[in-house]
Symmetry: C2
DNA sequence: AGAATGCTTCGATGAGGATCAAACCATGCG
DNA sequence: CGCATGGTTTGATCCTCATCGAAGCATTCT
């Protein structure tokens, strides 16, 4: 008999289809209401509510009450990382789909990972930022380079304020299998991309689709 | 309703206590027989056998038949990574144990992670190898440095033969939260440590305990 | 061949948990 | 207020699946 952290408890929380769908939906990064999650999971409201209590009790979700709305979100980056790891195995092990549907293709290029950008574009961006010495990569510990503050300030992102979460973090990309940028800086960049309308979120998907001029602007700023 | 890789299927496989215990046991890296796994999981042999079929069908295990023995092992590094990710969340979310027992302390210093060394010692080792330019770290992609071949050849490890698995890989350490060395080189180094009797495996645990002279030898070779 | 060991399959049992309808709170609106 | 909307709780139903004893294969040892 083994001891230690109760991994079965956590895994079984993810192991129910309804809950798994809810968690996948929340990987989009935006917090959702119980009704929205019920819809995503394809179950009735009471059922969803029951599942949400369990996920809360298990510490996988956070809850923000606003008036009569209650917004559920992932508890943190660690939980998001776990979901990605499980997704990776499911992808590798699951039925090899002959044709990767069009939505999958878009997902590989750019998608939302919790609160930051993932996919080929995100990996390329981090590589380029490191090449230009704006960020310094040393193991998973990504740090700000000397010119980082001025560079990001120029595009309206403040890297000085120090919140609880680290500014930079590496996050292993699910499709590319290399790291992309997470942390508050990664989140701020995604915010910027959406605020500038360089890209829009695909409905009911994590995919992020750049507009032609948006892509140009993005490349100018981050890959230039 | 969501589509995509069936994450619930994978997670529910890990979500049963008996199966979770088996997988945890296999994180030790050595393949085990059905009877050994039944003992680990605290279930009868028929029950264990049933669980093992499910894990096989789910693609989480590999099977090597040798005579009348059937050795079950983890299907690969990706599966091991997933287990570590889940363990991390379970640890973070679970009941904060006031005192980390002595076994936990040993685990933090050095333990087996699938087929290579993990823990503080392993992280320190990788850092030092990178500092000395024996290995080159660039993102998760760790590569051999110019002097790697001769350096490892000197201690009887051949880094030339190219198997299917990559020679070097970074693996995020569960306790230290930084990367340590995985891949065939990581596995070879662990083999060396155990072959030279610098350390021994703690019984029924993933902990690795160095002997005083063994630690000295290890530090001389890898941290020197 | 016969016996012993290692493991899987079969069958029956039982418990946990997913589900939804209906009833029940809570907040916001007119 | 009273009604509507968003959410949770309760209760009853149903079904999956974990469990183990007994029997069945397979491989090795003598």
């Amino acid at each position: 008999m083994r001891e230690g952290p109760d991994i079965a408890r956590i895994a079984s929380l993810v192991g129910d289809p309804a809950r798994a769908n809810m968690l996948s939906a929340l990987m989009g990064g935006t917090a959702l209401t119980a009704s929205e999650l019920a819809l995503e999971a394809g179950v009735s409201l009471p059922t969803a509510s029951s599942h949400l209590s369990k996920l809360m009790e298990g510490g996988l979700l956070t809850l923000a009450s606003q008036g009569r709305h209650r917004y559920y979100g992932l508890a943190g980056p660690q939980v998001a990382g776990m979901i990605e790891a499980i997704t990776g195995v499911a992808e590798a092990v699951g039925p090899k789909r002959v044709r990767p549907g069009p939505r999958d293709a878009a997902m590989r290029v750019a998608r939302v990972c919790y609160d930051h950008l993932a996919g080929e574009q995100a990996v390329a961006m981090l590589d380029r930022l490191v090449d230009r010495n704006i960020l310094l990569r040393d193991d998973k510990e990504i740090r700000l380079g000397p010119s980082a503050a001025s560079h990001f300030a120029a595009i309206g992102i403040d890297v000085y304020t120090k919140p609880r979460r680290p500014v930079c973090r590496a996050c292993l990309d699910w499709s590319v299998r290399r790291s992309h940028l997470a942390g508050t800086l990664g989140a701020a960049i995604l915010d910027k991309i959406l605020a500038e309308k360089w890209a829009r979120r695909e409905k009911d998907s994590r995919a992020v689709v750049f507009t032609p001029p948006g892509r140009q602007a993005f490349e100018k700023v981050f890959l230039g």
